[in-house]
């Protein structure tokens, strides 16, 4: 029997990173303020988690200007999708095979 813990990804142990990935899995480009609103977190907190995901190439960032206001949007990369789906499958497995 294969070990279900294998697929679990340490990165997604953080609730906020988990939430960001969940949102980006079902939406194309989502802007920073929308993420903040859904997750109900503070600026500094969210920014550092987003940087963490970006440095692992799980998400990509796009910076634009709308009028004079900067707009930062995020999208899940194919690699990020794959990693997150593996993590989700592992979680499900763990619960199904609960002794």
């Amino acid at each position: 029997m294969n070990n279900p813990i294998e697929g679990l990804n340490k990165v997604f142990e953080s609730r906020i990173k988990l939430g960001v990935m969940s949102i980006l899995l079902v939406n194309e480009w989502v802007d920073y303020n929308a993420l903040k609103e859904y997750l109900e977190v503070t600026d500094g907190n969210l920014a550092s988690h987003l940087k963490g995901l970006e440095s692992r190439k799980f998400i990509e960032v796009r910076k634009q200007f709308v009028g004079r206001k900067p707009l930062t949007t995020y999208r899940c990369t194919p690699g990020g999708k794959k990693a997150f789906k593996l993590h989700l499958a592992a979680l499900e497995n763990l619960i199904k095979n609960k002794p």
């Binding site: 949102i23 899995l25 079902v26 939406n27 802007d31 997750l39 499900e92 619960i95």
Partner: protein, 201 residues
């Protein structure tokens, strides 16, 4: 087994975030029930008006009646949804809400303009069917961002709208079924499926 407890919480969080970010889930069953009831009351008032008065003043009475119904139905739906959103700990004015409204607005505004044109061209007998058809299209369009029952309601409204245009002698009654009865049924379905406190084991 505090670990599997955390895994369960993680999955619940994932599910909640996916839903909250992609679907408008705060529409309350009571919104449908109240909107449908106001539509029926409005139709009843219109029926009384049509029996008691005639001529150009009747048209303006009917327009006023329709506007009052629209305001009451909209504000009560918004109120019940706002209440549900507060209970869910979510905000009503989210990016999903904006997407939902934009997708509804395109068919609704088109339909509104088209109905106004019919009014000016004295095609009054086709207006009831026209409102049903465009409202149905708006619901089908909005279905991607909310519950699938909205799509079913939308298709039902479109069919009624076509029927009301063919048998326009009965369009008043068909309108009452579409905006009154069907909204109430939709509200009851939403309530029993999503709102009613579930009895968990």
């Amino acid at each position: 087994m505090e670990n599997s407890e955390k895994h369960l919480q993680d999955i619940a969080e994932i599910k909640q975030m996916m839903e909250r970010s992609s679907r408008f889930i705060s529409l309350s069953g009571w919104s449908g029930i109240s909107a449908g009831s106001f539509a029926l009351l409005g139709a009843f008032a219109a029926y009384r008006l049509m029996r008691s008065s005639t001529g150009p003043s009747l048209d303006s009475y009917l327009v006023i009646d329709a506007i009052i119904v629209l305001i009451l139905a909209l504000s009560s739906s918004i109120y019940f949804s706002w209440r549900k959103a507060r209970k869910q700990g979510a905000t009503l004015w989210s990016p999903v809400t904006r997407k939902l409204l934009l997708n509804m607005a395109i068919p609704l505004v088109t339909g509104g303009i088209y109905c106004a044109i019919m009014f000016w061209q004295d095609q009054l007998h086709l207006i009831a069917g026209c409102t049903l058809i465009f409202y149905g299209l708006a619901l089908v369009n909005a279905g991607r961002f909310t519950n699938k029952e909205a799509v079913i309601l939308g298709i039902a409204e479109i069919i009624l709208g076509i029927a009301a245009s063919i048998w326009y002698a009965y369009s008043f009654w068909i309108w009452g079924i579409g905006f009154g009865l069907f909204h109430i049924l939709y509200g009851i379905t939403l309530y029993s499926k999503y709102d009613r406190p579930k009895t968990h084991e």
